[in-house]
Symmetry: C2
Subunit: 197 residues, 2 copies
DNA sequence: CCGTGAAGTAATCAGTCGATTACCACTCCC
DNA sequence: GGGAGTGGTAATCGACTGATTACTTCACGG
């Protein structure tokens, strides 16, 4: 039934599942997502997902940690970018906006992790992740700037999580809010949305 | 089995359930919460919860709308407060912080609604709620100020949703972040946390 | 060519949860 | 005092879902 090409090394398959799970968890949340939907998104069977990660909870934890790592890496690249002569603040902002258009699932999964702070197993991972990102910001800016950056990030996360993007060009209040939030990077965002849609 | 005093007019009982559901949904999210937990939190049986609101989804929608209304009312009171000679911005900030310490469940439920933007029935309600709050802010401040206020609010929501408060006085980065986020209102927040704990 | 391990699935089980049904208790009014 | 409406529950059902089990297929080394 299964053709030769469907058999893939476990490490590679693992990455595929994590990627699919990021999208599924990002959209539906931890409790709302099912291992079967993750499996279907990854193109494999449900039992294989469970066997590879042990439990749904463990899968989510790995998704969450990978998510934080991806974000930090993206921000690090922006900080280290020698080519740009812009100051570090705008460069980081731009990097975050870039994540919005390319890896929306990552930001959504991050958000889904943050609101599970009460959970005895996932909560600590979420808090560590939050602080990892905050720490990275603190390395290159003041506490006040870092706080504002996080605040702006949480607003952006909320805007895309609530799907307010679908009301752009439809509700002028939404247009205004997006213009204010993304500033001169608004064009990038709109472009990214068109590409996904 | 049920003593006389447990029989309560439906309208009053309805409010009790909404209050309990706000706490439960706020902590566990929509998918993570069960109608049975809401029922237990309200001190009644599970079937009664379902019968009064029709479905779990409808209950959540009513919780979400009530949540937005409560927040807007609190902000309106702050705006209308003639006694204070502070400018409107700080007054609103103070009102929001006050919500953190008195009605944490409300803010958490709001957050839980926002991240359900993909849901065909709940999503529109969440977006309307977000815009209702944003609009209210726009009545009394510039678009840029309103955006910053929303961003700060989303950061505050995330901080309490992720339960980072439990690491106050334990991790100096957390202390710093909270100090920056709440500024001169930090004392109020800490006081409120002690009272709840 | 055989057997061993890796990749993967079908079938199924056990628990959970939202919803439904049928019923009970009390009050008020005629 | 009886029946009609209101406030409420116990029992249960059906669907869903995470996890388990047992099986299949294939590549490869000796």
């Amino acid at each position: 039934m299964v053709s030769k090409t469907d058999r893939i090394p476990a490490t590679e398959r693992r990455e595929q599942i994590l990627e699919a799970a990021t999208r599924v968890f990002g959209e539906l949340g931890y409790a709302g997502a099912t291992t079967d939907r993750v499996a279907k998104a990854a193109g494999i069977s449900q039992p294989y997902v469970v066997r590879m990660f042990g439990t749904k909870e463990q899968l989510f934890i790995e998704v969450l940690e990978r998510t934080c790592t991806l974000i930090i890496e993206a921000l690090d690249r922006a900080v280290a970018d020698e080519a740009s002569e812009k100051p570090v603040g705008p460069r980081i902002g731009e990097a975050y906006v870039h994540l919005v258009e390319t890896e929306r699932g990552v930001l959504l999964a991050l958000m889904q992790g943050f609101i599970l702070g009460h959970d005895p197993n996932i909560g600590p991972v979420a808090r560590r992740g939050f602080l990892r990102i905050y720490d990275r910001m603190r390395d290159v800016m003041s506490a006040d700037e870092a706080m504002r950056f996080m605040a702006q990030g949480m607003l952006i996360n909320t805007l895309i999580a609530s799907n307010l993007t679908i009301r752009i060009d439809e509700d002028e209040r939404v247009d205004e809010l997006f213009a204010c939030t993304f500033g001169d990077k608004l064009g990038l965002v709109l472009e990214g949305l068109n590409r996904t849609a």
